[in-house]
């Protein structure tokens, strides 16, 4: 904590002492410094001494029912921790959570070099692959194309890595006999309306949203774990303190050691967003970088090239991997763009004014598209018609 902030935090105690004429010289100096910083501070100090304000504060406080509040809190605590006895394991678990963010922060400060490496791939090529495939596909390092989702579980080997294929997911396991022949990359591509999940060789789990592609190493033998993404994916990165896991998108890179976060980088969107659920990540763009804490989101605007950090409700940005989208006061254009990717439809607006309308609600992916559109119609002032594979949006 820097000195300025620490002094400001001491002000309430110093004020009370001042009212009691008990301040020492150092405290008097801190108080005077604070008072001299702004007229607002002087006004606040005077207000605190006025009886009228004290009375109104007391009245406000009397409206608070502490007893009820305690019962609610107590009930919640008992619900979370029914054992509620001192547990060393629990203490260690929480200690680890505090320590890890510190480690991550210091790691990022000390190892800046790894963040600057330019990705050796072309994002245009990756984006084109998304356009080219109408089925979920895996493209191996030697160019072989495997269509996924068609058959059930089958096991086959490629590049000495065993791949286990389920209907909607793939899992890699490391065969340690493989020695380093240069990193081999596979690319997983999803078309519109398909979500796919994959477990990488280090145990990292990736959910790939529709119209997306991720290029990843079949084995993590070097000292970094680099993957390349276009579209949207949610990552649960397996912890490996010796190897940072970096997601490269066209405009932004996200680096983590072991954590859970979402990256959204669709080529036709104006923004690229990285949302952190757990742990810590470092986000870099060409001109900026910042570190995220859980509940934060880094948002890069391609037009203004501005990188912004904001506090958000993570659920709104990660629920897609559980088959639903939660919207809070989101504009219709964004809502329908997301839906169009899910259901593989086009969107056209017969009235541009409707784009400004806002929608709040939860939409389930596995509903029939007509149901989903109907929900939006009921909640807003839009009229949506489904004509062949196209959504037409108009005002009611």
């Amino acid at each position: 904590m820097d000195m300025q902030k620490e002094n400001k935090l001491k002000i309430p105690d110093i004020i009370i002492k001042e009212l009691n004429q008990e301040t020492n010289l150092e405290e008097k100096m801190i108080l005077h410094e604070w008072l001299s910083q702004s007229e607002n501070n002087i006004l606040l100090f005077e207000r605190l001494k006025q009886k009228e304000n004290l009375v109104s504060v007391v009245k406000e406080r009397n409206k608070i029912n502490k007893q009820d509040a305690w019962e609610k809190i107590n009930a919640e605590i008992m619900r979370i921790e029914p054992g509620n006895r001192f547990s060393i394991l629990r203490m260690l678990r929480y200690a680890a959570i505090i320590v890890i963010p510190l480690l991550i922060a210091s790691y990022f400060l000390l190892h800046k070099k790894s963040l600057n490496s330019n990705p050796p791939i072309s994002f245009s090529a990756l984006e084109k692959q998304v356009q080219d495939f109408d089925q979920s596909s895996l493209i191996t390092s030697n160019g072989e194309i495997i269509t996924l989702g068609a058959s059930k579980d089958s096991i086959f080997e490629i590049d000495a890595t065993k791949i286990t294929k389920g209907v909607a997911n793939i899992s890699y396991s490391t065969d340690k006999s493989q020695n380093d022949q240069g990193i081999k990359y596979n690319t997983l591509v999803t078309p519109k309306s398909k979500v796919f999940s994959i477990i990488l060789a280090d145990g990292t789990k990736v959910w790939l949203n529709a119209s997306s592609a991720i290029k990843y190493p079949t084995q993590f033998t070097s000292d970094v774990r680099n993957v390349y993404l276009t579209g949207e994916a949610f990552f649960e990165v397996a912890k490996d303190a010796s190897k940072p896991f970096i997601v490269f998108t066209k405009n932004m890179s996200v680096e983590a050691l072991g954590t859970a976060f979402n990256v959204m980088a669709y080529p036709d969107d104006e923004v690229t967003e990285a949302t952190l659920v757990k742990g810590g990540v470092s986000v870099k763009t060409v001109k900026n970088e910042l570190i995220l804490e859980p509940g934060n989101q880094a948002r890069f605007n391609k037009i203004t090239e501005n990188l912004q950090k904001r506090l958000i409700n993570v659920e709104l940005f990660t629920s897609w991997k559980d088959g639903k989208y939660i919207f809070e006061y989101e504009n219709i254009e964004t809502v329908l763009t997301k839906i169009s990717r899910w259901y593989d439809v086009d969107v056209s607006y017969l009235n541009n004014d409707v784009k400004k309308i806002h929608f709040s609600g939860t939409l389930f992916k596995y509903n029939d598209i007509k149901q989903t559109l109907h929900i939006i119609e009921l909640a807003t002032n839009v009229k949506i018609d489904l004509v062949n594979n196209s959504i037409q949006v108009n005002k009611k």
Binding site: K49, K51, Y329
Partner: protein, 184 residues
Amino acid sequence: METEILTKLSKGDKTAFKYVFDMYYSSICLFIKKYNFDIEQAEDIAQEVFIKIWEKKLIFKNSLAFKAYLYQTAKNLALNVLQHEAVKKRYQEQFSYNLESEDFFFQTFIEQDSYRLILQVVDKLNPRAKEVLYLNLEGLKNQEIANQLGISINTVRAHKVSAYKFLKMNLRDLVLLILFLLFR
């Protein structure tokens, strides 16, 4: 606040937790209320703050560190709920404060925590004297206080005297003392 309480708190001692709850709950509610909430919403968020404090069981090196963490968490949760840009913008336009700014945080923190400490002293009065004091502050006359509390007017005066003596020792400069003199 004693280090003992902080240590116990980090170990999940519920008595220590109730102690900090009693000490800070009301102030945290009013602090959050300043972020443009009504009292019910503020209480809900404040309860979440305390639950979070309980869950995290962090180790604080002193009470200042604890206080900082408590109010910062309250700020973060409050802003989290206020995520709608539209709501924030309207508030900013109306009151020209930036709710997310550090300045606003410190102003609000200093205000609420100071009241907390002032009232903490008042809270130490014996319950009856406190009741009399609060009613007095609200503007009731001695007879009205006597009627409301079901005691004699002499008892009311006696309570005022003891309250006055107590506060004189503990909050000398507070203007409210003048009130006593006016009503004697």
